[in-house]
Symmetry: C4
Subunit: 202 residues, 4 copies
């Protein structure tokens, strides 16, 4: 059954649109579910509020990460002309990794002084970066070298640098002052993506 | 009121699109709500993390299941030319069964060593498979034998095999080492769907 | 600022589409958020599971209600040619009432033997019915008598009967065996909508 | 990679649609996630229900706020012809602020008699207003003075008045009877937006 339908599915205009819509939906829920895990302060004075600030900061960082993935994903798929079963599963694999950000974020929010939560957040970030890389490869398999997609992708320095920094952040978590070094790494990745560069000019 | 509007609703191009959009939305939320039920470890050492691994594994399995349903559903409805009230309710019936995955998943995550949670997960999976079968039948009732849909559906061995394995998984849960046999069954269904076969070639 | 943009917003083809998309999104989340409030049994034997059955039944009822509203809403707006600020707010007002189903459902799931939760569920259902009626009126104000919408709406017996039964269900909740009488009323409304009638034939 | 894809992204018809779809999704989840944080009464008599009324009222207020932002955002982007990376980040920045409404709302629901929760809600509302202003500016940077967008925006008195009232509500929270004065301010902003004015006539 899926075979013939799949073949219909590879029609250019409709192919990637459902995939984008579903991915947008999942990422929209992920990004807001993290907000649900921001619990209100236990009391009502300024110190109670202050105790929640670390959880708020890591939330903002994770929000930025999902935002960056949505941004890249959405530009990547706009150039997509056809999809395949492999692209489908690669995309779900990416969404699976992204869906682990909320629990990793919640954990750091509660235990930001410890190494393991900081390291686990790095694992989730690294897994997401790998999954994104796999999705790009899966898309290239169904587009020829002259396609808009192939032209659009080129080399992705930012992606490779990000993965390296996530790995460093993971390792550094276990050193003295570890978590703080890890957080510095993770923030630097977000900055790399937010800093406008020539590639973003229109 | 609904009568005349319904008649308008059977216009070919707009008919299934709302249905797909709503279904995508529901499935996107289901798949991410399960992530919300992944609670962070109680502590911060590796053993605390290890205790959460079973909940993570069953989450990945349920994520794969919803992903498979989204995948099939989305190919099925792409070939759909017209809908009916029966299709509407059949689709909601399928979404109802799928919406029970999060609670079944959460239960196993907490009590994965016991028979009943493993069996209940099988009931939810079997109910979803039945509901999908009903939806297919409802769609065929409003498409003639020569339609794209009728051609696209053909025979669905994977669906029938899956239902049989879910049933086995349900029964096996109550034998010694039951839960583990059930989980093996459920994982095998996911593998059946993930393994690429000729039907997926483009 | 909104004035001129609003004027652009009244262009026929794009007018209602965003409204439908947002409403579908909200209803998709409402319907699945209720599933999130289905908590797993406290234990793992059949009696623990049995204790959760009432919560499951009221969940199914509320799921059906939201499904019915999505169904009607989506047919109503398909016939819509233009929207207005009043339509916007009327639609948000309907979504507000619908968004109270999850908490009312959760309350009944925990306290199904008591009058007040059963009555409150009726209030939410009645408020939703009124809000839907208001939305219909708001739409008629921007469509002339010969429009597709005006033709499509006609008289809505089911809606009027439903509102009357909700009211009865609210009142009956406070009599002896009250909650059960209320639930019977609410279920009967769902049946009214599910029973296929001539109006649904294509 | 993103560069060339971005350039493709600036095509008029597809440019803002993904942005709107993702934003609608996030706002739809935010608005319904707040409903999830409405906990049922602890008991089943009328006093238990009465204790939940303040939480319900602040929920309605926050629901209205998100609804107003969705409404404005959606009219703003309908007039949008092209987007840029800056527009992307400005939009995410707005969504970040909006995503803080649920936790601020939950806090007030629990501690509505205290100054700090009332003030923090005002900070979230003010931050959202600022973020919306920034988004408008980012959009103007990629539209020339004669564009539909530039014409549509004009001067935004309501937005400026709202920001001023939020600021007042923040400050007033710390005076005697503070929270109540703040809530009065916040409600008045909602009224400003709901009151139909000439600008809304079609």
């Amino acid at each position: 059954m899926m075979a013939r339908v799949q073949r219909l599915a590879s029609i250019r205009d409709s192919g990637p649109e459902r995939l984008i819509a579903f991915s947008d939906g999942v990422m929209a829920v992920i990004i807001t579910i993290m907000a649900l895990e921001l619990h209100p302060p236990g009391g009502t004075d300024i110190h109670d509020l202050a105790h929640r600030v670390p959880a708020l900061l890591i939330y903002v960082l994770s929000f930025a990460m999902i935002g960056i993935y949505w941004n890249n994903h959405h530009h990547l798929l706009r150039a997509t002309e056809r999809i395949s079963a492999l692209v489908m599963w690669s995309n779900l694999h990416l969404l699976l990794w992204l869906s682990l950000f909320p629990v990793a974020t919640e954990w750091i929010g509660e235990e930001y002084r410890h190494a393991l939560p900081a390291a686990v957040w790095g694992v989730v970030a690294l897994g997401s970066a790998m999954a994104y890389f796999i999705l790009v490869r899966a898309l290239l398999r169904v587009h020829d070298a002259g396609s808009r997609l192939a032209l659009a992708i080129g080399r992705d320095f930012k992606g490779q640098i990000s993965a390296a920094i996530y790995l460093a952040g993971f390792g550094l978590a276990f050193l003295p002052f570890g978590p703080w070094l890890s957080y510095a790494c993770y923030v630097s990745v977000a900055i790399i993506w937010f800093v406008p560069d020539r590639r973003f000019e229109f």
